[in-house]
């Protein structure tokens, strides 16, 4: 499947394609996220490791973007910076017009809570909460009433095909089911961006395919921007765009035709 065959809404699809492909005659929308000259280093004992070395990239609204590359290429660090979970040592981040590096910790946390959903490689569900309670959690942390959060969580669990498992705890679910719960949790706050760091790394090939399909469907249905990382090239056939990262630098940025 290619980006051109995706059943996007006309306006959405046109704007995104105009942005991605530079189609003349259409006014491209502003990028959702702009990373400019991002540097990030980590101290590992006495040595310093450069995870990101001057990365600059834009993410368009509604985009389904994969960042791929070998282990240690800086994919996770890029996800963390994109998701405002980690701050770069140097560079600029513009998220929907907001200079996020100027935000205080509480402001950044609230910004994340309202605009960004996160899917983790290890699912990171709260083990003592049921599936529906896990999905409700981000809304409740924002102060949403219980019933409102529960309704929204149930709706999303239905969408990801887990209506029958809403009362199940994470340890009663398979890996694929847990990741679907995690995707529902990421989407429940109706974010502008969902980042997923190696969401299929702990899954078999069948479940990996299912998770990517689900993310693609959610991207289409909810018009939410998805950026995910993978080292499995077989999962890249559905993306609008793929970025190859190597040694902390963007080696190739391909828009899928």
């Amino acid at each position: 499947m290619t980006a051109a065959t995706l059943p996007l809404s006309p306006v959405h699809a046109d704007q995104k394609n105009a942005y991605l492909l530079g189609v003349e005659g259409l006014s491209p929308v502003e990028p959702l996220v702009q990373l400019t000259n991002i540097h990030r280093r980590f101290d590992l004992g006495k040595t310093q490791v450069t995870a990101l070395n001057g990365v600059s990239m834009d993410v368009a609204p509604g985009e389904f973007l994969a960042v791929w590359g070998p282990s240690g290429s800086g994919k996770s660090t890029l996800m963390n910076v994109l998701g405002l979970i980690d701050l770069p040592d140097k560079g600029r981040i513009l998220f929907d017009g907001t200079k996020t590096l100027r935000l205080e910790d509480d402001e950044l946390t609230d910004f994340r809570a309202q605009r960004i959903g996160v899917v983790f490689q290890g699912f990171n569900l709260v083990p003592v909460l049921s599936a529906v309670e896990n999905v409700m959690l981000p809304l409740q942390l924002r102060g949403a009433p219980h019933e409102e959060a529960q309704d929204a969580a149930r709706k999303l669990l239905r969408e990801v095909g887990l209506a029958k498992f809403e009362s199940s705890r994470p340890d009663q679910l398979s890996g694929g089911q847990r990741q679907r719960v995690a995707i529902a949790r990421a989407l429940v706050v109706e974010p502008q961006l969902v980042i997923a760091d190696e969401p299929t790394a702990n899954l078999d090939s069948e479940n990996s395919r299912m998770v990517v399909d689900l993310m693609r469907e959610m991207n289409r249905v909810h018009s939410v921007t998805f950026v995910f990382t993978t080292h499995d090239a077989r999962l890249l056939d559905q993306v609008d765009r793929k970025i190859l990262l190597r040694d902390g630098e963007i080696e190739k940025d391909e828009v899928m035709a």
């Binding site: 963390n80 998701g83 979970i85 980690d86 910790d105 509480d106 946390t109 609230d110 994340r112 809570a113 309202q114 959903g117 996160v118 983790f120 290890g122 990171n124 709260v126 083990p127 003592v128 909460l129 309670e133 959690l137 981000p138 409740q140 942390l141 924002r142 102060g143 949403a144 219980h146 949790r185 706050v189």
Partner: protein
Amino acid sequence: MKNKQPALLMLALRGLTRNRRRSLVTFLAIMLGYAGISLFAGYTHNIYRGLELQAIHGELLGHLTVQKPGMSREGKLDPERYMLNGDEIERIRAIASENQHVRLVAPRMTISGLLSNGRVSTIFVAEGIQPEAARQLRQGLAVVPALAASRNVAGGGVETLDADNRDTVAIANGLAGLMKLDVGDTGAVLVNTLGGQANASDIVVGGIFNTGNASTNDLAAFMPLELVRYLYDAEGRADRLSLLLDDTGSTAVARADLEKRFADAGLALEIQSWDELSSVYRQVREMFNMIFGFIFLIVLTVVAMSVINSMGMAVVERTREIGTLRAIGLRQRGVTRLFTSEAGLLLVIGCGVGFAVTMAVRAIVNAAGISYVPPNQVAAVPLLIDMDERMIVAAVVLAVVGLLAALIPARRAAHQPIINALGHV
């Protein structure tokens, strides 16, 4: 501002179920520590109350004692100098009666001398008091029947004093045993008058009582005030006045008011409260307060260490979860609140169950009828556990210290970088 607390409380409550054994151990430390300190507080409260009753009503001290300044220090050396005369007594009585809390003003006089049974003699120290005043002072014991029997140090003696029979006295059973005197027997007392003359009188043993204190039980006696005045040759006089109030809680207020009234009237007098005069009460209270403080400190330390350990382990085990919660929108303060809520729930449940255990043990102990003889006492006292406001204070202090202890690991959890927490193995 939207309320995030229900979600955090729910998370905290579920958090306690993750490692049930650890939560149980912390809960038990809090519960047993609190129950222990509460029971001890209730027990010491009963001791204090018993000693209070003993001093005010059993030993007939009353709530306040009014005397000339220096009487308590030098009165025995120069009694005449500190005696109150009849006019002064009446003025004091009139002024004291204006205070709304004062129920009784009783002139008193202490006398010492030799008691003889015709064959041998020994020293005695007697309290001279009007029989009717003594009866009124003792009525307070009836308020607490469970304590009355053990704290009625003058019981069996004072009520035998008779205003119409001046020579009838009550003597402590140690003194009675020493002198081989029984009720109805006669003896003689020999004393010095205020003027230094020898004076004597026959007496009849009307009653025998137990002071409850081994150091006084072989020399104490009660005599009608009129007999003491006769022996001292001090007609109409008294060395002090005992004041009975409507309630022990009014002591400080009444004292302040009376001090002002006496000063305004130009009377140079000093007022001492029952707890200042009862050295036994003061010493026992100081000792038990010290023990209570020591035990409470141990309990606080155990609870604080348990909470720090429990929350510290929880933080380490749930570091990735903390990172996840931070990533999906929980502020640093929220993480702190989450772990302090967990500790708070443990403390509330621990103290709540501890209180229930305290009440159950209290009911059992109070119904069991256990009694014991305290050191330097000659009569058994019942082992009873009262309700005490320190039970509430202990719960509040435990909760505050426990929460402060939880803050240490909670703040550590809240301030770690999110990516470090997410990468924690």
